[in-house]
Symmetry: C2
Subunit: 242 residues, 2 copies
DNA sequence: CCCTTTAGAGTCATGATGACTATAAAGGGG
DNA sequence: CCCCTTTATAGTCATCATGACTCTAAAGGG
């Protein structure tokens, strides 16, 4: 069966949706944006935000539109967010009602005020990742894949800054790594690594911020122009000596 | 628009297909499996192999089925091949006839005899990557994404062995890296790196192979159990993508 | 006035790496 | 046969990145 010579009116019909794994770091814990399902199947269970891809939009456009609707952020704000295609889930039977192929996306947000419900009835809220809640459909799997992908990307990209506000301290940046990876990092070594990696962060002149009222005030930085870290900032567990 | 409360008979209809970027290394050049299109649009142009996802199969099952059909390899052989989902292409208008969402997969094969046409009219053949041929639809973009992904995965996985026969020399393995990355690697340093990376390769006892009749015979190795390289084998120029 | 807390500077040993040099073992051309 | 080329394999050495540290600075709280 090839693409050539097929009848456009006789293709197997599929529904195509997007699912969003939206992460943030809040109070030193990884949180994910979830909605509570109001209808069967999985009524009352939590699920990833998402929805249909419309006939005239790409999957990424659908993902940004859904993200804006679920978080209440403006379209222009969402347009600048880091949104990355994770992978596509296509198992027959992943939705008991019909054949649905879903393109999953991952987004990283700084700690924002509670999302305001959008125009529709969706009530998305942040839930701590790894909590007791069971997710609907195969969303547990999607979320696990997304977490693994984010953890891996922190190693060789400057993506961790997407979890931080525009200006941040190195302590806040370090907490992002510690939270996503679930490890503790040596403070001086982390600082040395970040500052010697070209393009990772840029110092903000004159800035300093009290760290929650405790400890010495820290210098402020903003995200640098580099999108790849050379050499990468590897997870501690990932290193095996000869 | 959310997944909840929709009418299963009123979803926007899409066709879902798979596209395959199948690579091999032949004569020190990267080759890709292509088919020549026999019908409009893009009649006479080259395209990636692929086809519809059937109603009762997953996208990966469809990709393996198409790969077996296009290469003439047996289903059992294809079942053991390294096949990886690349990403999904969903731009409206990427196919002028109708709305088609395509899940792209990447496969790596050792240098095999010319593929035998399968049951249908498809005549897939190996073409040197980077040649003058223009590809149909957005397949040029898919192929570029696949090449970048394979190059990146060679850095931190033992995937390069998928391009080699079951037993191979370190020279053959090094040529895989040089061909995919388009660089020359220092022979002794490459050897040291591969042999000191745990689980990358295993020595084959007593084996030795003449390197095309030229030079000292080389020891044989087979792929090791590791699927991740620690630390990674980074490209000299250090090119990464997001 | 100490105590705790976090930021930030610096030290030291080890490991990984790039750039080399040198030797070994094959075939081919005189 | 001797040399030449070719490729494999064994080293050396300097440099850089890193993990595990110690030490000082600057804030707030009892």
């Amino acid at each position: 069966m090839t693409v050539e010579g097929y009848d456009p009116r006789a293709f197997p019909p599929f529904a195509v949706t997007v699912d969003l794994a939206v992460f943030t770091v809040r109070d030193g814990r990884l949180h994910v944006l979830l909605i509570e399902r109001g209808t069967e199947p999985y009524q009352g269970a939590w699920a990833l935000p998402g929805g249909f891809v419309l006939p005239r939009e790409s999957a990424e456009q659908a993902a940004r539109r859904e993200l804006a609707e679920e978080t209440g952020l403006s379209e222009s704000t969402v347009a600048g967010l880091h949104l990355e295609q994770l992978r596509t889930y296509s198992d027959p039977g992943r939705d008991p009602r019909m054949r649905v192929v879903s393109v999953a996306y991952t987004a990283l947000l700084p700690d924002l005020p509670e999302p305001r419900g959008g125009g529709d009835a969706a009530h998305a809220c942040w839930k701590a990742h790894g909590g007791p809640q069971r997710l609907a459909f195969d969303h547990e799997r999607i979320l696990a894949d997304a977490h693994e992908r984010v953890g891996a990307k922190l190693e060789y990209t400057g993506l961790a800054t997407a979890f931080c506000p525009a200006e941040f301290t190195l302590g806040e940046l370090r907490q992002v790594y510690e939270t996503v990876w679930g490890v503790e990092l040596d403070r001086p070594n982390f600082r040395r690594k970040v500052l010697t990696t070209p393009g990772f962060v840029e110092a903000v002149e004159g800035g300093a911020r009290l760290t929650g009222g405790r400890g010495k005030p820290a210098a402020l930085y903003r995200a640098g122009p580099a999108n790849a870290l050379h050499p990468p900032l590897l997870r501690p567990e990932g290193r095996h000596s000869t």
